[in-house]
Symmetry: C2
Subunit: 357 residues, 2 copies
C-alpha cells in the first residue's frame, strides 16, 4: 500500500499512545520512526513498530520510563533508560549531550538499559541542527561473527557521524559495521533472491548466497567480508561500538545483548542492563568559526561530487544524499508500505483498539 506522512505519523503515534506512552513520548517515538520511512530506510521505520509492541507485551519495554542520569562529569554522563523505548531514551540523552556541548564544547553520553533506537542518523542530526557535529552508535542483537569465528557475537552495530554544511545538506555517514545491513537480507528473503558472496556465512563458516542461512546457524559477516579484504577492520569497528555502547555504560554486550524479536528470550545470565548506545555532540565553533567550517565542507562536497567517475551515469554519492532524495520523493509521492508489513501493523492496531492504517 501507499500511505502519506501525516497518516503514517498519526497511526504510529496512536499505537504508542495505546501502549501507554505519554503524548510527548508517543510523538517523539513516532517522529524517529517516520524519519526512517521518509529517508527510505524502511527496515528501521514503522516496519519495526509491531516489534516494539510485542516487546512491550512481554514487559521488556517500559512505556513510562523514568530516564535518569546515573553518573556524570561536566562533559560525560551515563544514562539509565529504565527499559524505555530507545526511540525516546536516545533523544533524551542527545539533549543532555547538546547541553554539555553548549557549556563546555562537547558532551558524551553512554546509555544502558535501553532498547532499539531507530536510525542512528536521527540522533546525530539533533546536534547538526545546533551547528554541532553529531555522533551516534548502538549495539544490537548478535547476528555478526568476528573474523575467524562462526559464532554470532555482535550486532550490526551502526556508527553515525553527522556534519553541518552551508549551502549543501549535512554530510551524514550512517552505516552498519557489517558487510550488509540485516534489512537488505530481509528484502532478499522476502523476494526469494540470492545475496552476493561476502555478506553471510553458513554455520561452518563458508560463504553462502542463501539469505536464509542465518536461520540455520549462519551469521552476517563484518564489513570487509573476509580477512584478506579487511573483515578484521569491520570486526574492530563493531567491537568499538559494543565497548563504547555497553561496556562503558553498563549495558549487555556481545552475545548477551537481548534479542529484538520478542519470541526469543534474553540470555538468563545478563552482564548488564538492556542494550546500550553511545552519543556525542561537539560544537563546531569549539574548533573554528562555524561559517569557515561550512564554507570548507561545502568545498569538500563540491570537489567530491565533481570527481572523475568510472561510469558517466553514476556520480560519486555524498554520504546522506540518497536519504535526502528519498525524503523529498516520499513527502511528495507518499510512503510505500509492503503489504505484509501493513497487515501486521493493522492486526496489532486492532488488538490495541487503534484505527487501522
Amino acid at each position: 500500500m501507499l500511505t502519506t506522512e501525516p497518516a503514517l505519523r498519526a497511526f504510529t503515534q496512536n499505537v504508542f499512545l495505546a501502549m501507554g506512552c505519554s503524548a510527548e513520548h508517543a510523538a517523539l517515538a513516532a517522529d524517529v520512526l517516520l524519519l526512517a520511512d521518509l529517508r527510505g530506510i524502511d527496515s528501521h521505520g514503522v516496519a519495526r513498530l509491531t516489534g516494539y509492541v510485542r516487546l512491550w507485551e512481554k514487559q521488556r519495554i517500559n512505556a513510562t520510563p523514568n530516564i535518569q542520569i546515573v553518573h556524570e562529569t561536566p562533559t560525560t554522563a551515563t544514562i539509565d533508560g529504565d527499559s524505555g523505548l530507545g526511540l525516546v531514551v536516545a533523544p533524551f540523552a542527545m539533549k543532555v549531550a547538546i547541553e554539555k556541548a553548549e557549556k563546555y564544547g562537547s558532551g558524551w553520553i553512554a546509555i544502558r538499559n535501553s532498547n532499539h533506537f531507530g536510525i542512528a542518523g536521527y540522533h546525530a542530526l539533533m546536534a547538526v541542527e545546533k551547528d554541532m557535529i553529531g555522533f551516534a552508535m548502538t549495539n544490537a542483537s548478535p547476528l555478526v561473527a568476528p573474523t575467524f569465528s562462526n559464532e554470532r557475537l555482535l550486532g550490526t552495530n551502526p556508527m553515525c557521524y553527522a556534519f553541518p554544511a552551508g549551502k549543501h545538506p549535512a554530510v551524514v555517514v550512517d552505516m552498519a559495521t557489517s558487510a550488509a545491513a540485516n534489512g537488505k537480507l530481509e528484502i532478499a528473503q522476502r523476494l526469494g533472491k540470492q545475496v552476493p558472496e561476502g555478506w553471510i556465512q553458513d554455520k561452518n563458516g563458508d560463504f553462502t548466497t542463501d539469505p536464509h542461512a542465518l536461520k540455520s546457524g549462519g551469521s552476517l559477516l563484518p564489513l570487509g567480508s573476509d580477512r584478506e579484504h579487511g573483515s578484521h577492520k569491520g570486526f574492530g569497528l563493531s567491537a568499538t561500538v559494543d565497548i563504547l555502547s555497553a561496556v562503558l555504560s553498563g549495558a549487555n554486550y556481545g552475545p548477551w545483548v537481548p534479542p529484538f524479536v520478542a519470541f526469543l528470550e534474553p540470555p538468563t545470565d545478563p552482564v548488564g542492563k538492556g542494550i546500550g548506545h553511545f552519543l556525542g555532540a561537539m560544537r563546531v565553533d569549539g574548533f573554528r568559526p562555524v561559517d569557515e567550517f561550512k564554507h570548507h565542507l561545502d568545498n569538500w562536497i563540491d570537489r567530491f561530487k565533481n570527481a572523475s567517475t568510472i561510469n558517466p551515469n553514476q556520480k560519486v554519492i555524498i554520504p546522506g544524499e540518497p536519504e535526502l532524495e528519498a525524503h523529498a520523493d516520499r513527502i511528495k509521492n507518499g510512503i510505500p508500505i509492503v503489504d505484509a508489513v501493513a497487515d501486521d501493523l493493522n492486526a496489532v492496531a486492532k488488538k490495541l483498539g487503534v484505527n487501522s492504517l
Copy 2:
C-alpha cells in the same frame, strides 16, 4: 639486517638531532617510530625516517616548530603544528586532550599544519595509560578513490580507538579505512607478487591484482572494496576522518593533502595548512568506575577469545593482540630491517654525519 631496539632508537634519535630537532623532540619522534617497528608495523617505523629527512631538506618539515593552541573551549581546541613533525605535534596535542579530560571528563583536539604522525596507536595509547579511552585519526596523501570514482581523493585515513583493560592488554583498534593499507601494497611490489582482487583498481576503475597499478593512474579502494560489499561505508569512514582532521582544523583535505613523498610537490592551491589530525581522550570514570569497566572489558575479551572458530588452529584475534606479540618477539629477538631500507637509512645518515646503523 637484524638490529636491536636500543641501537635503532639511538640511530633514529641521532638523525632527528642532526635535522636540528631539540633533544626532547628527537627522543619523542624516535619513540613514536620505534613503537611502530616494535609492534611489527614496519611501514610506519624507521622505514619512513628518510622520508621525513627529505621533506625537511625541502623545508616542508620544520625541525623547531612553535606548536600553538589557536582556538579553544574547556574541552576542545585547535592546534597549529607550525609544519613540525607529526611525530612531535600529535603527542603535544594528545597531552592537551588528556589535561582537558582530567578537568572536564573529555578533551578533543583538531590539528592543522602538521605532517605524518606515525602510527595512530601511539597517540591513543597515551590516553590509555591514564585510564582514558583514546581516539586518534589523521588524513594522508590521496591514494584512495571514493566509490564510483577513479580519482585518488582520500588518504588511507586511519582511525584508532584504544580501551584500557584489566588483566588483559588494552584493546587497540588501529586501522586504515582502505581495504588494504599502503604498506601491504609496498610489500607486494617489493616481492613482485600479485595482490588480491578488491584492494586496488586501475585507472579505468577495473579491479586489478597488479600492485604497480597505482603508478599508472590506479587507486586504492575503500574498505568494502566495491559498492555491493560496502565500499561506500569505507568511503564514509574515510570522509569522516578527512572532515574531522582537516575541515575542522583548517588543514588541507581530499586531493589538496600534500604528498608524503618529497619528490612530489604539494598542490599550488592549498585549502588549508599541512595535513590534519583529530585526537581525543575520555576518562573512563566519567562514565563508570574504572575497575567495573576493566572487569567487563576483560570479560568481553575472554568471551571473544573463546569464541567458536571455523578453523581450530585459528582463534579469534582481539584488536591489538598481534602487535603485542610482535612487540615481545622483537624486544627479545631483535628488529628485522629490509636491506633496501637499511641502505637508504645509512646513505642519509652519512650525509647528515650520523653513525651508520
